[in-house]
């Protein structure tokens, strides 16, 4: 019903889409996978009208259409649920749902709030969300917001006579497992009324949900597989274009750590309502994974060690010394490195180039008397660009223009080159494609072998299990259980989930 | 709060004495002769550019000044447009920069009439003109240590008004009108402006003879109608019926005060300063008891004329006595009795002045305290 034929899209210096054929049938869920930079997001933007293709046709039921902007696409029944949280937080739920389409509730220039609330209620019912439509959006949980976004797109149903195509861009990235299940149930249910295009980095989820899967690589569709014929390894092979390491998490490289000394010790530490009474030790060479649902307190623990949060009770020791003042500066001075989840906001400074970003945390090492030694900075940057295989034309490249994986490597280089021996990794592989993920895993093993203590909040449970020496399960800010992760004796997914929820 | 105020006022007085000691004490009289009377005759020009530099066009006072300048230019047989306007918008920096730009443009062939916006700005303006060989006459603002005779011919003249006496006279009219008892408030100009200081001093001088009248408060209204309006209404709250008279530093302040009183349906005697047409009408109606006309039209014309004629060599400033270099402008008291007559003579029909009678209407040499 909805079809792209031989669609091309060029940007200066990039052939982003190469004669892409893409088709969505009624009541179908189509998966779309590919590495970062494979052209997924360009394709999506063409579909929902943010970009106009340079060549080829977009057809709906055989009629050629051309969208100048997202609104025109919406008027043809194409809606988008965004990857980033795209609700406007200071508005109420119903305002968000009908944003841009308030006119239907306006009588004599006056908005009929009651009518809007009623209509919003109906939309929320579609996604089985029972909340007051007048709630301010910032008061909702992430999962609730995700459902509101879906409800917002579903308003197309009333507005459009024809068929609906709804794009779901990484809808599960902020959701916990059971919430994902709920969302999937909902989506399957909704196929009665709409078709879906599902984009995710989580291969298992794509496989589980999709009827057909489009695999993209370098701006072209390289394969289309049906649900029943799908095989993770085969798809990954197509995406990456080479054999994926069987030892995905590099377990063979996991070496025992030195339990004799402790880099970080938490002794009955509490931090307000975020977490309570947490105790553990991190040793040199150890990969310690904090596992829990969103909001269980794992990030807050990381931020405490780095100095961004001040605990309300208990003792924190770093390298034997008790920490009294909690500030990022002192964390850095003690050799703590932090790879934040919000890479683009907290990780790199967009607008600053590669070497400037790499030395940001360690300027005293590259200056004397406050005067920078730019030559040394560049030399260091070149060394690390080579060492980590960072893809950048030169050290002057604005980091905001690098791909996600390379940005992550720059952040890593920043800490590693500064000699950080306690690394805090918050979702380090989030949003990275398989190749980049493997690079990150490789680096974690290298650091571990070099005696760096690592605390990890992983993107998936598999990742946590595969990478860690030790797993701590946390629920609602309280410690639940400690698992040992020696290769061969690793806990199972079920073991962990059992204690998480 | 008056105890705080008293304390701070005492502090101010003692520190002001210190200021006087430091700034005037060392060698106030021995003025620097940077450019000295030059031995060679200053170069004169056949047809110098004539320019007026002033604060802004939004104040009727300056419009009158400008009209005088334009009348003078027309008397030379030129069109009005021949007068170059430099407007500083209340910025000394722009005032100086514009003068410098004009000096560069005219290559020094310039006859400049200027109010430098703020007293300290007069020195660099005059120095720049002298250096470029241009001729400058100043109005109102200059510091006490700066004198035309220290710059040979190039600093032609300075005209100011001694506002203390006329302000004292209007104050007396006000104090008589309220029967010599009660309370008055004063709304002043920008606090550091010379005329603002003198006009308040005039009021204080008059008050010395009226022991039963209290000066309730004096606040600067920055020559601004809206600000005067707000301050007056606050005064009404603080002092209420105690206010039996209002002394304003100029007409525009007076308008704000009148409106504040009108809003309350009150009527309190007020006096103002400047003699703007609108104020004169109000005097005629009796809404203002008195204002002082300083003849800005003549002032604007004669200042330009002095600079121009010195520049053309029609007269040689350095040969004139000091009282022809620094002098007070004329003042005319306008009261309800003579307001209409005054209006007919000076405002409705602007008299044709002899722009070569430089010092006729002037009011004696400037004296320093």
């Amino acid at each position: 019903m909805y079809e792209l034929r031989q669609v091309d899209k060029h940007f200066p210096g990039v052939h982003a889409l190469k004669a892409v054929d893409f088709k969505v049938n009624r009541h179908e869920i189509v998966g779309l996978v590919g590495e970062n930079g494979a052209g997924k997001s360009t394709l999506m933007k063409v579909i929902y009208g943010a970009y106009q293709p340079d060549g080829g046709d977009v057809t709906i039921d055989g009629t050629v259409v051309r969208f100048q902007n997202p609104r025109q696409a919406m008027n043809h029944g194409i809606g988008m649920v965004f990857q980033e949280q795209s609700l406007i937080l200071n508005l109420t739920v119903m305002e968000n749902i009908f944003l841009g389409y308030e006119q239907q509730f306006v009588k004599f220039g006056i908005i009929d709030w009651k009518a809007m609330a009623q209509a919003a209620k109906a939309q929320l019912a579609k996604v089985k969300l029972d909340i007051d439509p007048a709630t301010t959006t910032s008061d909702l949980s992430f999962a609730q917001r995700q459902l509101v976004e879906l409800a917002k797109v579903l308003t197309l149903e009333e507005r459009i006579d024809g068929d609906l195509v709804i794009l779901l861009d990484e809808p599960t990235s902020v959701l916990a497992k059971e919430e994902v299940e709920l969302l999937f149930g909902l989506v399957r249910d909704l196929t009665k009324r709409a078709s879906f295009i599902f984009v995710s980095h989580r291969m298992d989820e794509v496989l589980e949900l999709s009827d057909r899967i489009y695999v993209m690589k370098d701006g072209a569709v390289v394969d289309v597989v049906a649900h029943d014929a799908a095989d993770i390894d085969a798809i990954q092979h197509k995406m990456v274009g080479r054999e994926v390491d069987k030892e995905y998490y590099r377990e063979q490289k996991q070496k025992p750590y030195d339990a004799a000394q402790a880099l970080v010790s938490f002794d009955q530490v509490s931090c307000g309502r975020r977490y309570n009474d947490i105790s553990f030790d991190l040793h040199p060479g150890e990969v310690l994974c904090l596992v829990g649902t969103e909001g269980s307190g794992r990030e807050a623990i990381l931020r405490t060690i780095f100095g961004l949060e001040t605990p309300t009770a208990g003792t924190v020791k770093i390298k034997g010394e008790q920490v009294t003042s909690f500030a990022a500066q002192s964390g850095v001075a003690r050799g703590v490195g932090y790879i934040p989840r919000e890479r683009k906001i907290e990780g790199i400074v967009a607008g600053m180039n590669v070497y400037e970003n790499m030395t940001l945390s360690q300027m005293p090492n590259y200056s004397s008397g406050g005067v920078l030694k730019v030559g040394e900075e560049k030399a260091m940057a070149r060394t690390w660009i080579e060492r980590l295989g960072i893809k950048t034309p030169d050290v002057y490249k604005d980091c905001g223009g690098l791909s996600g994986g390379n940005q992550q490597k720059v952040v890593l280089a920043k800490w590693r080159s500064g000699g950080a021996d306690i690394m805090l990794l918050d979702h380090p592989t989030r949003g990275l494609d398989i190749g980049a993920k493997e690079d990150v895993y490789e680096m974690i093993r290298e650091m571990s072998a070099a005696g760096v203590g690592i605390i990890l909040v992983a993107d998936t449970l598999e990742e946590a299990i595969g990478l860690s020496h030790t797993i701590l399960v946390i629920k609602d800010g309280a410690f639940q259980k400690r698992f040992d992760g020696t290769p061969g004796a690793k806990p199972t997914l079920y073991d962990l989930v059992h204690h998480m929820i | 709060m008056s105890f705080i105020k008293k304390f701070i006022e005492q502090e101010t007085v003692s520190r002001r004495n210190f200021l006087l000691a430091s700034a005037y004490g060392v060698s106030g009289a021995a003025a620097l002769r940077m450019f000295g009377p030059s031995p060679v005759q200053a170069m004169t020009f056949a047809d110098p550019t004539i320019a007026w530099s002033y604060r802004n066009r939004t104040n009727p006072y300056w419009n009158e000044i400008v009209s005088g300048g334009e009348a003078f230019v027309e008397s030379l047989g030129k069109s009005k447009e021949a007068l170059t306007h430099l407007i500083n918008e209340g910025s000394s920096e722009k005032s100086l920069a514009d003068v410098k730009a004009l000096l560069a443009k005219t290559n020094g062939e310039l006859a400049l009439a200027i109010d430098t916006n703020d007293a300290p700005n007069a020195r660099p303006v005059v120095e720049a003109c002298a250096e470029a060989g241009a001729f400058v006459s100043t109005l109102w603002n200059k510091t006490d240590d700066l004198h035309p005779w220290d710059f040979g011919d190039n600093y032609v003249s300075h005209m100011s008004w001694s506002d203390e006496k006329p302000a004292e006279q209007t104050a007396r009219i006000l104090l008589e009108a309220i029967g010599g008892k009660g309370g008055v408030v004063h709304l002043g100009g920008i606090a550091s402006n010379n005329p603002a200081i003198e006009r308040l001093q005039g009021l204080k001088n008059a008050l010395a003879d009226y022991p039963d009248v209290e000066l309730l408060d004096a606040q600067p209204a920055d020559w601004d109608t809206q600000k005067a309006n707000q301050i007056m209404s606050s005064f009404l709250t603080r002092y209420g019926d105690e206010i039996t008279g209002v002394h304003c530093a100029n007409d525009t302040i007076g308008y704000g005060v009148l409106e504040a009183l009108r809003a309350e349906g009150m009527s309190v005697p007020i006096v103002t300063y400047d003699g703007n047409p609108q104020a004169v009408e109000l005097v005629a109606k009796g809404e203002i008891l008195a204002t002082v006309f300083t003849n800005p039209h003549w002032g604007g014309g004669i200042t330009a004329s002095l600079a121009y004629h010195a520049a053309t060599g029609a007269f040689k400033p350095s040969e004139e006595p000091n009282e022809h270099r620094e002098f007070y402008g004329p003042t005319i008291m306008v009261t309800p009795e003579d307001a209409l007559e005054f209006k007919a003579n000076y405002l409705d029909n602007v008299p044709t002045y002899d722009w070569k009678d430089y010092w006729g209407p002037s009011n004696g040499p400037i004296t320093y305290k």
Binding site: N96, E102 | F3
Partner: protein, 361 residues
Amino acid sequence: MAEALLVEGMETRIMSDITAQTAPPARWLTRERVIKWAPLLVLLFLVLLFPFFEWLEDFREAKDHIYLADSRFFSIRNAARIAIAATPALMVAIGVTFIIIMGSIDLSMEGTVSVCAVIFAFAFLGWGGTLASWAWLAIPLALLVGAVVGCINGLVHVRLKIPSFMASLAMGFVGTGFALLLTGGDRIRVEDELFRSLLTVRWFNFPIMCYVALAMLLIAWFIQSRTTLGRNFYAVGGGEELAHASGLNVSRVRIMGFTLAGVFFAMGALLAVGRIGIAETATGNNFMFISITAVVVGGTALWGGIGGVWNTLVGVLIVNVINNGMVVIGLPNYVQDGVLGLLVIAAVVLSTDRKTVSFVK
């Protein structure tokens, strides 16, 4: 310029049952609530503070003085005076409130007010000089002029992609310059008794202009809360790109916002002329900083999305109460500026929710 990032995204949240109703705040006196009402509390505090100083002064001089009852500051007549002083500024501040809610800023008010005042006065005098003639058409004309100036401002900002700070600052110069060009520096008196009854006729102790301002405030509130445009201001301020992606014509909303602000600036001009009976190039002077300060003091955030016209009313009153109160208690004029500055800082500090803002510039 004023940029802040909500830490919302990084704040960890406890998520239990996905479909659960969001729990209503358990306590009545929550932090959020206190912060929301902080500007009003500051206003109340100030209203009680100045009479205290009056009382203190009389107490030291051993005069009889019952706190509040004998206060000159705390009286209906003074309330009317504060109201008169505040009305033009309130109109201007309401206009700029809409812009600030959008996360933009408008610095063109001084020029716009002057232009509107001057054109109004010319038209009013030219068409009869009294409200009882066709001259009343000067009022809609002035509002139209305000709308046009605001619209040009918005067009320059949106179409030329110049940040609003710079675009409106330059438009302010143009406006003042245009007013000067029209008047040549003259002041225009508007003496019509009927028009001046805005100031001279009082209902229940307050002059008519206060009721006009109140009516405009209600209209602004209506626009803010009951019209699509008003709600779209909040959407744009809360997340412009998201609003755009939702199909909102953000450019149109912005231009409409600046146009609407222009209308309110024109209203401010009319009331300013009504108050002193004079229209001149200087009519707009001093509105810029005072109105923006008032908006911020009222609790509308400069980074957009938060606040509204009632906040602005409170903010304008706070600033005017301080100005009036300082004179009333006899504070020496040269400390008044400094005290105003410090009180403004204090008021903003009290009404900022430091927990939801991670940094401010």
